[in-house]
């Protein structure tokens, strides 16, 4: 068990170190996020009245799109110099690799959110920093990475991997996106928790089911 967690943290530390040295991915994701928000601004004509209703939707759509950059990269980087083969030779349970990567991807997307949310809050003068909202952001990001990492591992082995990942990811992602947008909107509107719990439960259920499936399937995806 100790071995399992040390393997998990090694993967996490490696991914974070690689990213910290280059900062390529985070910069790209961040610039991309700001650009998407800018595009939404003009596409939706985000005026004061509309803003309150669509903020959560705009933000989640932004994170979902920006997140695919990170997911694509996280597996592609392992394929490039056949470093995945090296990883797989390590005498640890392979699901530790999956959970390490999922955690790293969660960290990446949280960092992007950490920068994007204040920018959005300043640009549109909405207060996003309530505890409830942040909890939804964290839970949603975990659920997103759990399924995203698994599908990225699959897409990385296909001929058209960059094209494939969003197509594979978004249909499966819809329940968690819908629930996250509902829960975030509810919290921003100051609804009582009774109305928010059902959506929150879906995010939690999804955030538990997908890692379990990842635990079961990751080995089958990366073998040979």
């Amino acid at each position: 068990m100790v071995n399992y967690f040390s393997a998990l943290f090694s993967i996490l530390r490696k991914d974070l170190a690689v990213e910290w040295r280059s900062r390529q991915l985070l910069t790209a994701m961040l610039v991309f996020s700001v650009l998407i928000i800018l595009i939404f601004n003009f596409a939706l004509e985000l005026d004061a009245r509309l803003r309150a209703e669509v903020s959560a939707g705009v933000l989640w759509a932004t994170f979902a799109f920006a997140g695919t950059l990170g997911l694509n990269r996280s597996m592609a980087i392992e394929k490039e110099h056949s470093s995945l083969d090296g990883l797989l030779l390590a005498p640890v349970d392979r699901s530790a690799i999956y959970f390490g990567k999922t955690t790293a991807n969660t960290v990446f997307i949280l960092v992007v959110e950490l920068f994007t949310l204040p920018i959005y809050a300043v640009l549109y003068n909405v207060n996003l920093f309530t505890p409830g909202f942040l909890i939804v952001i964290i839970l949603g990001s975990w659920a997103y990475s759990a399924i995203g990492t698994l599908l990225a591992a699959m897409a990385a082995q296909a001929r058209n991997r960059e094209l494939l990942l969003p197509v594979l990811l978004f249909p499966v992602l819809i329940p968690v996106l819908v629930a996250a947008v509902r829960a975030s909107t509810g919290i921003l509107d100051g609804l009582e928790m009774v109305y928010i719990w059902p959506s929150l439960n879906i995010i939690i259920a999804y955030g538990l089911i997908m890692p379990v499936l990842g635990y079961m399937f990751f080995d089958l995806i990366v073998k040979d």
Binding site: A158, V167, I174, P175, V178, I209, F217
Partner: protein
């Protein structure tokens, strides 16, 4: 090899072709002529018989594909993969018929072609998941890996479909539930007379038989495709 016996079209399959043609013709007659016109909605309600039947076959096909995928992962045998692809393709076509006929019905009854109702969204998401499944398979060359990834994705997809339904159902639905208890907010609900029930059940049977026939054809096609690949491999070596 098992493939040899598939060279010629099996007799029973030809018989099934004719049988499904007769059944669907009879179902068409029942739905268009025999069943009474619904008093509130009028003739457009007749589309319901095929709408529900197509939805039923589509759903069964997707469930069958998921089950076959699960079996494949436990016991990798090519036949389950061939079956799963066939079931997915059949399911896609039937679900599309289901969505299209529903849309035609909804135009006069709900006064719109489309609404973001849980059932409608779930059906669409299911369609998209299995389209993605086909795209995934296209992108992978190694047949063994293609089958494995396909099976995994089919299971992931089928796990997310009920969650999609739940995540959207938190808001009420307007889709009528004709079989079983209806929801009070449903629009376009109606009570079925016994002739309507008979027509509906007959359509279910007819569509199930037709679906089975199409599935069989598609499985056969899958095996023939395998055969062609095998022969090509033998002849040119790649």
């Amino acid at each position: 090899m098992a493939l040899k016996s598939l060279d010629r079209k099996p007799r029973s399959l030809s018989a099934l072709d004719i049988f499904s043609f007769l059944l669907v013709s009879a179902a068409t007659y029942l739905a268009l002529v025999y069943a009474p016109t619904e008093s509130v909605m009028g003739p457009v309600q007749r589309i319901f018989y095929f709408h529900a039947s197509a939805g039923w076959v589509g759903m069964v096909a997707f469930i069958a594909a998921a089950v076959a995928s699960l079996i494949y992962l436990i016991r990798p045998n090519k036949k389950w993969d061939v079956f799963a692809v066939a079931a997915v393709e059949v399911g896609l076509v039937y679900s599309f018929i289901n969505i299209a006929t529903g849309s035609i019905w909804a135009r006069p009854i709900w006064n719109t072609w489309w609404t973001w109702d849980p059932r409608l969204v779930t059906a669409t998401v299911m369609e998209l998941v299995y389209f993605a499944y086909l795209l995934l398979r296209q992108g992978i060359e190694d047949p063994e890996r293609r089958a494995r990834f396909g099976a995994i994705y089919a299971l992931l997809g089928s796990a997310s479909v009920p969650l999609t339904y739940m995540s959207i159902r938190i808001w009420r639905t307007i889709h009528p539930v004709v079989i079983g208890s209806g929801s009070p907010s449903a629009q376009g609900d109606f009570d079925m007379t016994s002739t309507m029930v008979f027509t509906l059940l007959f359509s279910f049977v007819a569509f199930t038989v037709l679906g089975t026939t199409v599935l069989w054809h598609r499985i056969r096609l899958g095996w023939l495709g395998e055969r062609v690949e095998e022969l090509r491999y033998k002849a040119i070596g790649f």
